[in-house]
């Protein structure tokens, strides 16, 4: 995502455990509750499987596991954020959606050079908001890796 200095970014924030993340609002198609997924054989562990989104077969990714944290034990309270990149749809399994943010692009700070566990590639930047810290997820990186890992 390229932003110029005076652009405002609209973001959807969600929680995983006690951490807060966000994605660009334009990429989000819908947010829905968790429904059991059909597991896919020979796929990476963070791919929970596929669900039926009104006739579309939608792969669902466990974001917690994807970011190197504990696997999610999904319940009815968990949500799936359906995002679209290019022509593909994918569902992100997260604990809950917490906020809709509008921040100036200049507020987005580059990620610090420390995180080895949480794959740095997935974090595009961090945003301070009222004393909280929200990580902006790089969606393209999330996507591109599915295919190479699954193959």
């Amino acid at each position: 995502m390229r932003v110029s200095d005076n652009d405002m970014c609209e973001l959807i924030a969600f929680t995983i455990g006690d951490q807060e993340f966000c994605v660009e609002v334009m990429a989000v198609r819908e947010i829905r509750g968790w429904t059991p997924a059909t597991p896919l054989p020979h796929s990476p562990g963070y791919v929970r499987g596929v669900i039926n989104l009104r006739g579309v077969v939608l792969p669902v990714m466990d974001m917690s596991l994807r970011l190197g944290m504990e696997p999610t034990d999904p319940s009815e309270r968990h949500v799936i954020i359906v995002i679209q990149i290019g022509k593909q749809f994918v569902g992100l399994l997260v604990d809950s959606v917490s906020d809709i943010l509008t921040v100036p692009a200049t507020d987005i700070q580059p990620p610090p050079d420390v995180s080895k566990e949480m794959d740095r590639d997935f974090v595009q930047g961090i945003i301070p908001i009222e004393g909280r810290m929200v990580c902006l997820i790089q969606l393209n990186a999330l996507f591109g890796s599915i295919e190479s890992e699954a193959a």
Binding site: T38, L40, P41, V50, N52, V56, V57, V90, I146
Partner: protein, 768 residues
């Protein structure tokens, strides 16, 4: 709409015309003597030529022109159809198709082939006893009777041809006026009366006249008599006509050529000789005519109520019981010779209607109306209907689960909904369904080419070409079919000499049949050739290590060896079928379509290849099974039988392999749950069900699943759309409970199990 789009439409139409052309020629070849068939063929070539001219595709125009000329001779009965002629014409149709393809995709075609055909066509056009309006090469041959040739425009329906019989008289007396100018210059009289269509299409009479002036010296008179009073003038109407005297050293064709692209939209007539009388007469042409002009076929108007046709009065063209008729009657005489399109509106409307009516009648056996629709739109509709089907199933299921008081109204409504959904689904599927005809027609050409190459006489007989099947199936059918046809002609049929020696007809017959059978389409390719040489196949298979030298195979098993991937006889085969592509590839492509293929062969009598294919790739008949608590769908086409394994039938084979005994043969048992990584350990076969499946190599495998839930038709959903290809899984579907179920890729599972077997075998041999 830009030029490229228009061009694309032209090429699409070309394809239709080419198909029309070929089927017409084939009908004539089969003895169809209906003049309408010849007309249809002529029209097809003519339309291609016309369109190609508009796009400046000169090569295509040139060839189409020669072809058209020869066809015109056939059409006007100057040339008798013969099998030789039809052979050349069919080849020409092929070349025309090639030229069209080359014009579309770039590239070029073999010029020598074109030129040979051009010569042959021209020879046919000239080599007849009757004088023929030959192509420009032979102006000297241009003689009077050509004038009697039916106007090319005639079959466009409403086409008044008011020629004067005087002309014929003149010619009989002497060939005088034709060669009037001396020095080989001839004189023609051209009557040209544009219809409003001509202007509507952007043509312009003046430009046509200017072009005509390049042919020779003109003497032009514009007839303006038919111009109505200004208050009755239709601003888009066509009122003028022209009488032109052409003195030229060229022939009639050169004149016709000028009007070529306008001829459907005007009344146009060329007569040899100068109609000096017509020129002399200033306005009262009508009275000079010895014969009453009949501007249009009155029979067309038969079903118009109470039509008082004033046949006795040459001047009045049509009189309607409408008030408007008063006007034209005012100046009937001037109106007569070239009148019809200039009739005032009321009558014009009728004329147009008649024209329309006639056009519909002329359309070859009442073709149903069609529209072009973007395939994407149809696919979208099909997807939506797929969703509807799933939703309906979900709804039905939840009603059953919730026991909604057993309300009969709800159940009744649900039942009706189910019925409707079914019907909608069927109708939508029918939109995509197309007859196999185009593919079959392409095969005709392939047979001709190979027959030529191999020097064999082959007749292709097609049956059931109107059998419909989903477009995707049709698209993917051409390739395997082509290959099988090539094989059948190249290997199946004997040479004419050999056939005669065997007491068969020198001409081999290849029968291509399509029919529906129990919800599938069955395509058969039958030849009456030598049949499969089992000895050779067997020795070849032994040579390639496919079977043990002492193995005992049934005839059927030997025949089916030709589908084996290792059975490649490519190095021995000819150029035609042995392009490194074996029958195994054919089998694989058929299987990818969810189909099966088999062969039966009788030595000396021929072979029959039978393909059975699903009617659509959007839905699939599957067996719904449970594997490690997951629901999977196994395509029904892959399953040969299901069986309940018993303990005594299961035999361990190495550390991980197990075989199941089925009627004295041992078949590898594959635990589907294990191979898909759904469970780490192998399940106990006795607790499950075995599905005997046939895989690519022709070998059978038993797939072990936990339980069978039932058979169901499922809507196929791509996994690749949002994810990626998953090994062992062909696609996904959505079941009645709204959950996604995966469709098993049987071949991939079998292949994967083979790899497994290979490694364990190696372990065995290493330890032993």
């Amino acid at each position: 709409m830009d030029m490229n789009e228009i061009k694309e439409i032209f090429f699409q139409e070309c394809e239709e015309q080419l198909a029309e052309l070929e089927s017409g020629l084939l009908r004539i070849n089969d003895g169809d003597s209906d003049p309408e068939t010849v007309n249809a063929v002529f029209r097809a070539v003519h339309s291609i030529k016309g369109g190609a001219g508009a796009f400046g595709l000169d090569e295509l125009v040139a060839f189409a022109h020669v072809f058209e000329t020869t066809l015109d001779c056939v059409r006007s009965n100057k040339l008798q159809t013969s099998s030789d002629l039809l052979k050349v014409m069919l080849k020409s149709a092929d070349v025309l198709a090639d030229l069209t393809a080359a014009s579309r995709d770039g590239g070029s075609i073999d010029k020598s082939r074109t030129s040979v055909l051009v010569k042959e066509l021209e020879a046919f056009a000239k080599g007849t006893p009757l004088p023929v309006a030959a192509p420009a090469a032979e102006p000297a041959k241009q003689e009077a009777p050509a004038a009697a040739a039916p106007e090319p425009a005639e079959d466009s329906g409403f086409q008044p041809v008011p020629f004067s019989f005087d002309d014929f008289g003149d010619e009989d007396d002497a060939a005088s006026p034709v060669e009037a100018g001396g020095g080989g210059r001839s004189v023609f009289t051209v009557r040209f009366k544009p219809r409003s269509d001509l202007y509507a299409k952007g043509n312009e009479a003046v430009l046509l006249l200017r072009d005509l002036a390049k042919v020779g010296d003109l003497q032009v008179r514009c007839e303006t008599d038919t111009l109505p009073p200004i208050d009755q003038l239709d601003p888009e109407g066509a009122y003028f006509s022209w009488l032109i005297r052409v003195e030229t050293d060229k022939d009639e064709d050169a004149i016709r050529h000028v009007f070529e692209f306008a001829e459907w939209d005007c009344m146009f007539e060329v007569t040899p000789g100068a109609d000096e009388e017509a020129f002399a007469a200033q306005t009262v042409l009508g009275e000079d005519q010895p014969m009453a002009p009949v501007p249009f076929d009155l029979s067309m108007l038969d079903d118009e109520p109470a039509m008082p046709v004033a046949a006795a009065e040459p001047a009045v063209v049509v009189s309607m019981p409408a008030p408007a008729v008063a006007e034209p009657a005012a100046n009937p005489a001037e109106d007569a010779p070239l009148a019809p399109p200039s009739l005032p509106r009321a009558e014009k409307a009728i004329a147009a209607e008649a024209e329309k009516k006639d056009a519909t009648v002329a359309a070859v056996p009442a073709a149903p109306q069609t529209i072009r629709v973007d395939l994407d739109r149809v696919d979208r509709l099909i997807n939506l209907v797929g969703e509807l089907v799933i939703n309906q199933a979900m709804l039905a299921q939840s009603v059953v689960e919730n026991e909604t008081g057993g309300s009969s109204a709800i159940n009744l409504g649900l039942e009706e909904l189910q019925q409707l959904t079914r019907e909608i689904q069927d109708s939508v599927m029918a939109i995509r369904a197309q007859p196999v005809k185009p593919v079959f027609q392409r095969m005709g050409r392939i047979v001709r080419e190979i027959a030529d190459m191999t020097g064999k006489n082959v007749r292709l007989v097609t049956e059931g070409e109107n059998t419909e099947v989903d477009k995707t199936v049709i698209d993917k059918l051409a390739e395997p079919l082509t290959h099988m046809i090539r094989n059948a002609v190249d290997h199946g049929l004997e040479t004419p000499e050999k056939r005669l020696a065997l007491g068969k007809n020198a001409e081999g017959v290849l029968r291509l049949t399509a029919k529906h059978r129990s919800g599938r389409i069955v395509i058969e390719i039958a030849d009456d050739g030598a049949g499969i040489n089992r000895e050779r196949v067997r020795s070849k298979a032994i040579e390639n290590g496919l079977i043990a030298p002492d193995s005992n195979l049934s005839d059927e098993e030997i025949d089916n060896l030709i589908f084996h991937p290792g059975f490649s006889t490519a190095e021995k085969l000819s150029d035609i079928s042995g392009r490194g592509v074996g029958m195994d590839v054919v089998k694989r492509s058929i299987q990818q379509l969810g189909g099966r293929i088999s062969i039966t062969s009788k030595p000396g009598k021929g072979s029959v290849f039978t393909m059975s294919l699903p009617l659509t790739l959007a839905v699939l008949d599957g067996m719904v099974v449970t594997v490690a608590n997951q629901t999977l769908v196994v395509p029904l086409t892959a399953i040969v039988e299901t069986l309940q394994p018993e303990k005594k039938d299961i035999h361990a084979f190495g550390p991980t392999q197990r075989l199941i005994a089925i009627r004295d043969t041992f078949c590898p048992l594959i635990d589907v749950g294990h191979i898909l990584n759904f469970r780490p350990d192998l399940a106990n076969p006795i607790d499950g069900v075995a599905l005997l499946v046939e895989s690519e190599g022709g070998g059978q495998r038993a797939l072990m699943v936990d339980a069978i839930q039932g058979q169901r038709q499922v809507v196929i959903k791509s996994l690749e759309a949002n994810y990626t290809n998953v090994p062992g899984i062909a696609a996904a579907t959505i079941l009645g409970d709204g959950r996604v179920a995966l469709i098993l890729d049987v071949d991939a599972v079998v292949t994967a199990s083979r790899g497994h077997a290979l490694s364990s075998e190696m372990t065995l041999s290493a330890t032993g």
